[in-house]
């Protein structure tokens, strides 16, 4: 479902991606670092401890994380998929992972999101961005700085503007 692009943005840097996506119905696991679907994770959590590479989990936008958020707290990467860029559920999912479940690893956006969403995505706790198609990542990074401040509380700014400046 996703192309395995080499480069992605993490914490503002362009870096190489080492993770391959594994869908729920795949029979064998590739070697190296993998991102398995939430269903695969739920069904095979034990076996996955023996995998030689790093294991992360990817979550689709419709998935309710409440019933397994606890079990993924220690994985190095959680990816959240945007089936369409206008599907805004991932914004809530990312915030819940950070704010409610205390996840501190990498939260990576995958799928159909667009550059013009980066500012808000970063506010909701995404710190890594693996675009669906090849784009100029350095140019796209400018969108992180679309605004210099915000009214609301979010992952990047736990105090509202009115408590900081007014």
């Amino acid at each position: 479902m996703h192309q395995q692009l080499k480069a992605y943005l993490k914490d503002g840097q362009v870096i190489d991606n080492s993770y391959q996506l594994v869908s729920a119905d795949s029979e064998t696991l590739p070697v190296g670092d993998i991102l398995v679907s939430a269903d695969y994770w739920k069904a095979n959590q034990q076996q996955l401890t023996e995998h030689s590479g790093n294991v992360g989990v990817w979550i689709d936008s419709h998935e309710e994380i409440e019933d397994f958020a606890g079990s993924i707290a220690a994985v190095p990467v959680i990816a959240i998929n945007f089936p369409k860029f206008v599907d805004g559920r991932a914004f809530s999912t990312a915030r819940l992972l950070c704010e409610r479940y205390g996840y501190i690893g990498e939260i990576r956006a995958i799928g159909n999101f667009i550059r013009d969403q980066l500012f808000m995505m970063q506010r909701c706790g995404f710190n890594a961005f693996q675009f669906e198609s090849e784009i100029d990542l350095a140019a796209a990074s400018k969108s992180f700085n679309d605004f210099s401040d915000s009214y609301q509380v979010a992952v990047d700014q736990p105090e509202p503007l009115f408590k900081r400046h007014r």
Binding site: F91, F147, D149, P160
Partner: protein, 554 residues
């Protein structure tokens, strides 16, 4: 009114630059049509049948005369010299050029205005009572709360891509003038037993294809919890609202599917995690925002003397007396009144005004209403805080500007959508129907005698013209490619909100006006004393009306 500080200003300035860059990238082919769509919608830019339309936010309907003059100038420079006031208290430009929109936004930002979230699947402009702060039945001024909601909702990072558009209204008075029960969230200001302010929270109202009156989900929300509770509602909706079918995507469908009780439980469960969190309002912020909505310096007035003077002028000038009856409303401040400037003279699309009229409105505001202008969801303009002793003078000037048609709240004060003349979704034209009705009922004595009557027209079931909540509603329908009209009766947008009932089979355009006349005849024949059309209908039911309209020609 609220005045921007450096943070508010910086945000709108940065938004202009963000949108300018997006427009440039779109024009250079770096952003696809599909990707640009929500980006431009979130900045109020639609592309319609004939041209793009730009919707400008008028937060809770409040503007300064300086802002009104800026809108006049923008409409002259960038458009055809007129603008349209919408049913959600906003302003629309009908003919802007896509390439020039960033410049229009920069002009707006220079007077603390913007077009942020006036369209698209995000939290829209919060609306309220046009008589806020001066209404005699007010529990508390809703405007500070609207401003607090405006700031919270502006570029909210989590809720920019909701399943569907999202509208919030706040009602601060006994009588509802904000149609708050027909909003995704309706907030009613209330006081508890200890006299503390809070909100009665309703959710899941809306018009459109499936009109629904909002359900109560929390009877008392203490004021400091407003934003965390809104976060909880929006998060539940963002996560669980339907995203597969746009006609089932409004929050009203979710509330109905889960039942209001279950929806309320889910919101409460989410709120448990957010309650008392950092977004909880403090007294400082509430007081800071309230301080912008202080009352002007009223003069002490000899009310009895002024009333006598106004009364004698009214006796002398029948037209003035009519205008006093229909367009002037008492205020809680003695000696002052609120005036509604009618944007519904016959022959003009309801809600349209010219650049020159905008400037005249600004002048009137400077002279008589402390420089403040209010827009209404009925698509008129209100000037509040008018000294009663200046009413006659104001009337004369408003009249020469074409803004004093004495028809507020009458059959000629219609809400009407753009319809088939402008809108690609229309089944039928609506503006010509409105005009035909205004022409037919041009006898002012008759119109006054009919009294309060709301007639609303939509060109299709999307219901932009609020036909479901008109006492008489007219809906354009498509019958084998021809334009027909369905009539509904008994809708109401007030606290006793009700949706209209279909009268019977649809009618051709020619038959609409005659049928309206028959409905009015039935009313006049059956009413008791001062009974309004709506009350008569509620008492006698739909049958008599139906019989008359569909009686075979004699």
């Amino acid at each position: 009114m609220y005045i921007y500080d450096q943070y508010d200003q910086k945000l709108v300035d940065e938004r202009v630059e963000q949108y300018r860059d997006q427009t440039n990238r779109y024009l250079e082919g770096q952003i696809s049509e599909e990707e640009f769509l929500p980006l431009r919608l979130q900045n109020g830019l639609y592309v319609q049948r004939l041209a793009p339309m730009l919707r400008i936010a008028v937060p809770y309907g409040l503007m300064s005369s300086r802002q009104v003059r800026k809108i006049a100038a923008i409409s002259r420079t960038f458009d055809k010299g007129y603008v349209h006031f919408t049913t959600r208290q906003n302003i629309q430009l009908n003919w802007p050029v896509l390439e020039e929109v960033p410049d229009i936004l920069a002009e707006l930002a220079s007077v603390e205005m913007h077009a942020i979230q006036t369209s698209g699947n995000c939290i829209r402009n919060t609306t309220t009572d046009q008589f806020a702060g001066v209404a005699d039945d007010e529990i508390e001024d809703p405007r500070p709360w609207c401003e607090i909601i405006r700031q919270w909702s502006t570029l909210h990072p989590e809720f920019a891509f909701l399943p569907r558009k999202f509208k919030i209204a706040v009602c601060g008075s006994e009588e509802d003038r904000a149609a708050f029960l027909l909003h995704d969230i309706g907030l009613q200001l209330v006081k508890n037993e200890s006299g503390e302010t809070g909100f009665h929270v309703f959710a899941g109202g809306g018009l459109g294809r499936t009109p629904v009156i909002a359900s109560s989900i929390r009877e008392f929300l203490p004021k400091e919890h407003l934003l965390t509770y809104l976060d909880a509602i929006l998060r539940v909706y963002n996560r669980f609202g339907n995203r597969d079918n746009k006609y089932k995507a409004r929050i009203k469908i979710l509330v109905r599917a889960w039942t209001p009780a279950v929806f309320a439980e889910r919101v409460e469960a989410e709120w448990e995690h957010l309650k008392n969190g950092p977004a909880t309002l403090n007294g400082n912020e509430i007081e800071r925002v309230k301080s912008f909505f202080t009352l002007p310096d009223y003069q002490t007035v000899d009310s009895a003397a002024v009333d006598a003077e106004v009364q004698s002028l009214a006796t002398e000038h029948k037209a003035f007396s009519r205008w006093l009856d229909r367009n002037v409303r008492a205020q809680k401040q003695a000696g002052y009144a609120s005036v509604t400037l009618s944007l519904k003279p016959a022959g003009v699309a309801p809600g349209d005004v010219t650049d020159r009229q905008l400037e005249q409105i600004a002048d009137l505001a400077d002279r008589y209403s402390f420089g403040e202008v209010r827009t209404t969801h009925n698509q008129n303009i209100v000037l509040a805080d008018i000294l009663k002793s200046e009413l006659f003078e104001l009337w004369q000037q408003a009249k020469s500007a074409g803004l004093a048609t004495p028809n507020i709240g009458t059959i000629n004060d219609m809400i009407c959508c753009p319809g088939g003349d402008y809108c690609s979704l229309a089944n039928a034209k609506s503006i010509p129907v409105a005009e035909a009705i205004q022409r037919k009922f041009d006898d002012l004595d008759y119109v006054y005698d009919l009294g309060d009557l709301e007639l609303n027209i939509s060109g299709c079931m999307n219901a932009c013209g609020h036909h479901h909540i008109g006492h008489i509603g007219i809906l354009g329908v498509d019958k084998k490619g021809e334009e027909w009209y369905q009539i509904q009766l008994g809708g109401s947008a007030n606290k006793d909100a009700a949706l209209g009932k279909v009268l019977g089979r649809s009618l051709s355009r020619d038959a609409v006006v005659d049928s309206i006349e028959k409905l009015l005849d039935v009313y006049v024949e059956n009413r008791l004393d001062q009974e309004s059309f709506l009350s008569t209908y509620q008492r006698i039911g739909i049958e008599k009306f139906k019989e008359r309209v569909y009686a075979p020609a004699a």
